[in-house]
């Protein structure tokens, strides 16, 4: 210990600066008495009641229950786990649009009023009010379920609310490169470039893991998990999470109707996370061999000895086949066309879904042990009863292969095609009588697919585009996706909305054009689809060929008389139970032919049907995640 009390002179280490603050004069002993002057000054008196808090004040929580969607992100970000979500049964619940019947409750024994919950709230419903007084001996009053009136219902103004600077969410979607209209006008190369690794990482980082997409997806994909895996840079784990519910990542990554993005809570105030394109990024980033290994990891080792035949190799048929094969059943898929894929191949143009990507998905399914026999039409090459006899169960999933015709006068001319047939011919590369000007009837995605395909073929053969599309619906209620309408317009497709087909004008054997009438309204009072025409307003759209894309029907003639009689029917379609079962115990049905409308619903139906068959075949509880 140093010696005590001696004053050692500091060794001259550094020069002492000029700023010397030793007190100048010690001042007299009585100096402090000057403070007495305060006695004669006006005392500062403050009011007793609580002072109003500052405008930015972070007081007790308020939550606007109209805006709140119960996503739980506030509970997720809370660093003291002060917020827990409370399930309230009688609140609105709508999984399709990402609304959950729960609201945040706050434990003021833990909360530190940091307002991170306010800054991250996707809808901006939660805020901190300017109320700060709460005195109670009753512990329970410190656990509150705030509404917009606040803790004591006094409706204090908002202090710390949602604000531009402090918003923690990334509301802008990462830009996605696309081929310019000019460059894509005469070829079928894929339009959407797809994310590169860096952009995918940033896009994936936008996800706040609220899980709304999981519940909105028809087959309940584990989107939060695979997005988080992409963000962690582990694309293989992402593929693993995807294959838990969807054997068609390449397809769904490109053409899915992305119900998840409709429900995404970021979409409330900004652009939803690009969940579909992230799925595509993950599957593109993993080698096909690795994908097979991941997808077949849970394949049953032993064979069940049961045989299942599946008619139709669309998404429903192949998903059912994939699940059953992984459960150890022997599965054979019969496809009437030359190549498998159904509508995915013959209904979707290649600029949307390249065929090699579809083949990649199908290759994985075949690797699971599914035998696909193409060019085999049931009812023509193989009898349905023959199919029945050497299989324990049969699944029909032949989709809606037949294009409906409007059957308006002139619609039976040779120059009038159905969109579905024409698209199939384009895919198969078969030639057909392409004219310099064409008219398409219909306003859905199929109509735009054929219109834009014709535009490309016209540009390639005639060097110019002349395609007119006539849709019943008004511009703001088109059935087709918005980007289809926009991109179609960019590629030269002239779109007429609110027009109903009247007749196809034919003069000496050649089609002159399509006459349409104004469609005043589409839905009647009860909201049912019942268009009302104004026959005075007629337009003639000049065209040398007409394509009808107004609807599709199923062809079930291959079932044969007695099976058709044994089945139950509803409006021309087989009546099925939730799990795809029909009135005939060994026969199941799935996909567009029983209930549409798109690939992802077909995949979901495929899972349900597969687990039903597995139970029917005595497989007991299937390991598969049955999509409820």
């Amino acid at each position: 210990m140093e010696q005590k009390g001696t004053k050692t002179r500091p060794r001259k280490l550094y020069e002492v600066p000029n700023m010397d603050v030793t007190p100048k004069n010690k001042g007299s002993f009585l100096r402090p008495l000057k403070a007495l002057s305060f006695l004669f000054r006006e005392p500062v008196t403050l009011p007793m009641e609580p002072r109003p808090a500052a405008e930015n004040y972070r007081g007790f929580h308020v939550n606007d229950w109209e805006k709140c969607i119960g996503c739980g992100t506030c509970a997720e970000i809370c660093d003291n786990e002060a917020i827990s979500m409370v399930h309230i049964p009688d609140l609105p619940e709508d999984h399709k649009n990402g609304i959950k019947p729960r609201r945040p409750a706050i434990d003021y024994g833990r909360c530190c009023w940091c307002a991170l919950c306010v800054d991250i709230c996707p809808t901006g419903s939660i805020a901190l009010s300017r109320e700060y007084i709460h005195i109670s001996r009753e512990m329970n009053t410190f656990f509150i379920l705030p509404d917009e009136k606040g803790m004591h219902g006094l409706g204090y103004p908002i202090g710390w609310g949602k604000n531009e600077d402090s918003d923690l969410l990334d509301l802008k979607r990462q830009p996605m490169g696309e081929v310019e209209p000019e460059a894509r006008s005469d070829n079928f190369d894929e339009i959407v470039d797809g994310f590169d690794a860096h952009t995918a990482l940033i896009e994936a980082s936008r996800c706040i893991q609220c899980g709304m997409c999981h519940e909105a997806c028809p087959t309940n994909m584990h989107a939060p998990q695979y997005i988080r895996a992409i963000w962690e840079g582990n694309v293989e784990k992402a593929v693993e999470e995807i294959y838990r519910t969807n054997p068609f990542p390449q397809v769904c990554g490109r053409v899915c109707t992305h119900r998840c993005e409709t429900a995404c809570s970021i979409g409330r105030r900004g652009e939803p996370v690009a969940i579909r394109w992230l799925k595509r990024y993950a599957i593109d980033a993993v080698s096909p061999a690795k994908v097979k290994k991941i997808a077949l990891a849970d394949k049953a080792k032993k064979k069940s000895g049961k045989k299942v035949a599946i008619v139709g190799s669309g998404p429903a048929g192949l998903t059912t086949a994939f699940d059953l094969a992984k459960l150890g059943h022997a599965v054979t898929v019969y496809e009437s066309k030359e190549k498998p894929g159904g509508m995915m191949r013959y209904g979707i143009p290649e600029y949307r879904l390249p065929y090699d990507k579809l083949d990649a998905d199908i290759a994985v399914i075949e690797a699971a042990g599914v035998a696909i026999e193409c060019g085999k039409a049931i009812g023509r090459d193989i009898g349905f009863d023959a199919l029945r006899s050497d299989n324990d169960a049969v699944v029909v999933a032949t989709g809606l292969g037949q294009g409906r015709s409007t059957r308006i006068p002139g619609s039976d001319q040779p120059g009038v095609f159905s969109a579905v047939d024409l698209l199939a011919r384009v895919t198969a590369g078969e030639s057909f009588d392409l004219k310099e000007s064409a008219a398409v009837i219909g306003g859905g995605n199929v109509a735009f697919d054929i219109a834009r395909s014709l535009a490309r073929l016209q540009k390639k053969t005639f060097g110019k585009v002349d395609v007119t599309l006539v849709a019943l619906e008004a511009r703001d209620r088109m059935l087709a996706d918005e980007e289809e309408v926009i991109e179609g317009g960019e590629e030269g497709v002239k779109v007429f909305t609110g027009r109903g087909p009247k007749q196809i004008v034919v003069e000496n054997g050649a089609i002159k054009g399509l006459e349409t009438v104004l469609c005043l309204s589409i839905f009647d009072e009860e909201g049912r689809f019942h268009p009302k025409y104004d026959e005075a307003d007629v337009i003639l759209h000049p065209a040398a060929m007409v394509v009808e894309a107004i609807g599709q029907a199923t062809d079930v003639s291959y079932l044969g008389k007695d099976v058709t009689e044994a089945l139950e029917w509803e409006r021309g379609r087989i009546k099925i139970g939730r799990d795809g079962s029909t009135a005939v115990p060994w026969l199941f049905a799935a996909g567009d032919m029983v209930e549409g409308p798109d690939v992802i619903h077909a995949v979901a139906a495929g899972h349900r049907t597969a687990s039903a068959i597995d139970t029917f075949l005595g497989g007991g509880s299937s390991k598969l995640e049955a999509a409820e």
């Binding site: 308006i408 007749q503 025409y533």
Partner: protein, 172 residues
């Protein structure tokens, strides 16, 4: 396609109706038409394939309801007053059926053909009754024709809705 072809179901109907004088006679003729339609559909049902059968049976029931409705009106104690309130809210004519071709029904029609045929019949009946309403002077007889025309129009509207929901389905 002239009107008469459209109504070959109502053989020589126009003349019979025009000459009928009392409500009684007109209603009996109308009931007769409904009866022929009902038996026509009832006969067609077993012949068509099962997926279509439910649809045809539905049409038969629809005609049956018309049949009962008209008989109800006929046997109503005070037909004239009853007719007045029935005409109060005339339905709208969506004119859709004007542009639907009337097919010949063979033994294996598809749903679209059946519905088009049914709409054609209703449309013809509606036009016929409204034409008669125009030409008859004011009075109970005119109200009756108005009522019959409204009923046919309402039935046609229903068929148009069903037509749309079945045909324009499928695909995305």
């Amino acid at each position: 396609m002239t009107d008469t072809e459209k109504t070959e179901g109502h053989s020589g109907a126009h003349a019979a109706l025009a000459s009928a004088k009392t409500l009684e006679e007109v209603l009996n003729t109308a009931i007769g038409f409904e009866d022929t339609a009902r038996t026509f559909y009832a006969a067609l049902a077993p012949k068509v394939s099962k997926p279509m059968r439910a649809l045809v049976e539905e049409l038969a029931e629809e005609e049956q309801r018309h049949y009962d409705l008209f008989t109800g009106v006929r046997d109503h104690p005070d037909t004239v007053a009853h007719l007045k309130d029935l005409i109060a809210t005339p339905p709208e004519d969506h004119k859709f059926a004007d542009f639907v071709q009337m097919p010949k029904l063979d033994d294996n029609p598809d749903d679209q053909a059946i519905l088009q045929y049914a709409m054609g019949r209703e449309d013809a009946a509606y036009k016929q009754y409204s034409a008669l309403a125009e030409t008859t002077p004011d009075g109970p007889l005119r109200d009756l024709f108005r009522f019959l025309a409204d009923e046919e129009l309402r039935h046609k509207g229903e068929l148009e809705k069903t037509y749309y929901e079945i045909i324009h389905s499928g695909g995305v």
